[in-house]
């Protein structure tokens, strides 16, 4: 069984048909990169997997999205529960104006976890996983807003990991960061793959090549090609894909 599966999905913003009949199956413990020119629907497609699209007024979603074989859009599913299982990291780092510790503990607190020792363990573990522990373990009580942009983004990753989701969605997580922070986060993705299924939107072709197992190329709401990353970057089946990858458009 696939970890995630989108089946014949269509998304409309009012009259605008933003995702056109897309199907995609994502294996467990793999990294899938979504690439394509801006406005092609990458973010819209990504947000399908944790029902963040639900918050947008006037949106219409058709089709099925399966998480561990269960349709997360069926009527008896609470989107809040879906989001607890499917973590998300945004383009701009979004630390909460709280201490570093409380940022990472946030997911546990909203889940009503009361065991402070367990919370402490989870926070420490998540900060280790996000390769941030060394830099912040002395300052856990300080405001997260004092961290650098790159640190803030890793903090947001730690925050998502602390509740042990099984899927991590990332929407251009490094596009606001410097090269060194970017390298750190790419390295991190390589390690997280062992325990998580990761879907990452990126407009950086090299990043897709470095971090992902499979790559999906979108254009104007259509999933043009979805293949092993190696294949798509060496022998793309479609002219459009080749043009985009070689930088002839987009």
């Amino acid at each position: 069984m696939f970890k995630l599966e989108a089946i014949d999905v269509n998304v409309y913003y009012g009259d605008k048909h933003a995702i056109k009949n897309v199907s995609m199956a994502i294996p467990r413990n793999s990294v899938v990169a979504l690439i394509g020119p801006s406005g092609c629907g990458k973010s819209t497609f990504l947000r399908l997997f944790n029902r963040m699209n639900d918050l947008i007024e006037g949106i219409r979603i058709e089709g099925k999205v399966l998480l561990d074989g269960i349709d997360i859009y069926s009527k008896d599913i609470d989107p809040v529960e879906v989001r607890k299982r499917v973590g998300m990291v945004f383009q701009k780092p979004t630390p909460f104006p709280k201490s570093i510790f409380e940022n990472v503990a946030y997911g546990l607190r909203i889940n009503n976890v009361k065991n402070e020792r367990y919370i402490k363990e989870q926070v420490e573990k998540a900060l280790h996983q996000a390769a941030l522990w060394e830099e912040v373990h002395k300052d856990l009580k300080k405001s997260a807003l004092a961290l650098s942009g790159g640190q803030q983004q890793r903090l947001c990753i730690a925050r998502a990991l602390a509740v042990e989701p099984s899927v991590l969605l990332m929407d251009e997580p490094t596009s606001a960061l410097d090269p060194i922070s970017t390298a750190k986060i790419e390295q991190l993705i390589g390690q997280l793959k062992n325990n998580y299924t990761i879907v990452i939107v990126t407009h950086n072709m090299h990043q897709a090549g470095r971090v992902s197992d499979k790559t999906g190329f979108f254009n104007m709401g259509v999933l043009v090609e979805y293949e092993n990353t190696k294949k798509i970057f060496t022998h793309p089946s479609h002219r459009e894909t080749e043009n985009y990858i070689t930088g002839r458009f987009g």
Partner: protein
């Protein structure tokens, strides 16, 4: 462009700038003069320790103003508490829950936009007929505080609404994305972030509530009451009303004048201190979380 046009424009700018500067200095100067005047006239009375702890004596020309200090403090705290308890949730509702075109939102919008401009004596009349007479609270701290609370309610609702709306959407999305409910997001993220701005609304209201005479005139303020209140159903003296009484209806207004300036200074100091406390809380909070 010619050299002389450049020079002319430059000169023109200088003149405009100079005019603005003079006007600003003048305004600030007037304000400082008022403060200085009250301060210099009132300081002698205020420095007399008995002024703070005695009841008025000698046909209002001697003694202290303790009952009025206690009265205004109680009225201010209670009315701010009441209007915050209603206004902060209402402001949050307006910003986060009320659908854009709902009738309720439109009504509250009209209310918050217009109620702020209504003369305070109108609130006094309303408070008297509703709280004092209809609800039978009598002239009391309760009736006065409720009247004052209603007067500043629009300010509290509006500033809270704006404070909540100023919270960046990214934070909302990040919280929802973690699997938080809307209520959890409001309680744990939005309120703490907007807290300093909400305090600003409260600061504005403190000054308004402490200084108004008209709303308390028919609802709570006593002309002369040489004792402290025992419950919220008692009447109290209040600083602004006492000041008015000293100036116009004391047996010998001329002799009461030093008492009047003392009362005015105490009122100024009280508002100042309450503002400073609120500002301090706000700044500490901002510093702690490095908020802007």
């Amino acid at each position: 462009m010619h050299n002389d046009t450049l020079q002319r424009n430059y000169l023109y700018q200088r003149i405009v700038f100079l005019i603005l500067k003079v006007v600003t200095i003048f305004v600030v100067g007037v304000l400082f003069f008022v403060l200085f005047y009250i301060f210099s006239k009132g300081i002698g009375t205020v420095l007399r320790g008995s002024f703070w702890i005695e009841i008025p004596k000698d046909g209002l020309s001697g003694g202290g103003i303790l009952p009025a200090i206690v009265g205004t403090t109680l009225l201010t705290l209670l009315s701010i508490l009441l209007s915050s308890a209603v206004g902060i949730p209402a402001g949050i509702f307006m910003a986060e829950y009320a659908p854009k075109k709902s009738i309720l939102k439109v009504l509250v919008d009209i209310m918050t936009n217009n109620l702020a401009g209504i003369p305070s004596i109108v609130f006094g009349l309303f408070g008297m007929s509703l709280f004092v007479i209809q609800l039978n609270f009598g002239d009391s701290i309760l009736a006065g505080s409720l009247t004052l609370a209603i007067m500043v309610l629009p300010v509290i609702i509006r500033t809270t609404e704006q404070a909540v709306k100023a919270v960046p959407d990214e934070l909302r999305l990040a919280s929802i994305g973690m699997g938080a409910t809307k209520f959890q997001t409001i309680w744990r993220i939005i309120l703490p972030v907007s807290f300093p701005r909400i305090i600003t609304g409260i600061i504005l209201s403190i000054g308004r509530v402490a200084g108004e005479t008209a709303p308390i005139l028919f609802t709570v303020a006593a002309l002369y009451l040489p004792q402290l209140p025992r419950s919220i159903f008692d009447q109290v003296m209040a600083l602004p009303y006492h000041l008015y009484v000293l100036c116009v209806s004391s047996p010998d207004p001329q002799k009461s004048l030093p008492q009047a300036f003392g009362t005015a200074l105490v009122l100024l100091l009280m508002v100042l201190v309450l503002n400073l406390i609120a500002t301090y809380i706000r700044n500490q909070y901002k510093r702690k979380y490095k908020l802007k």
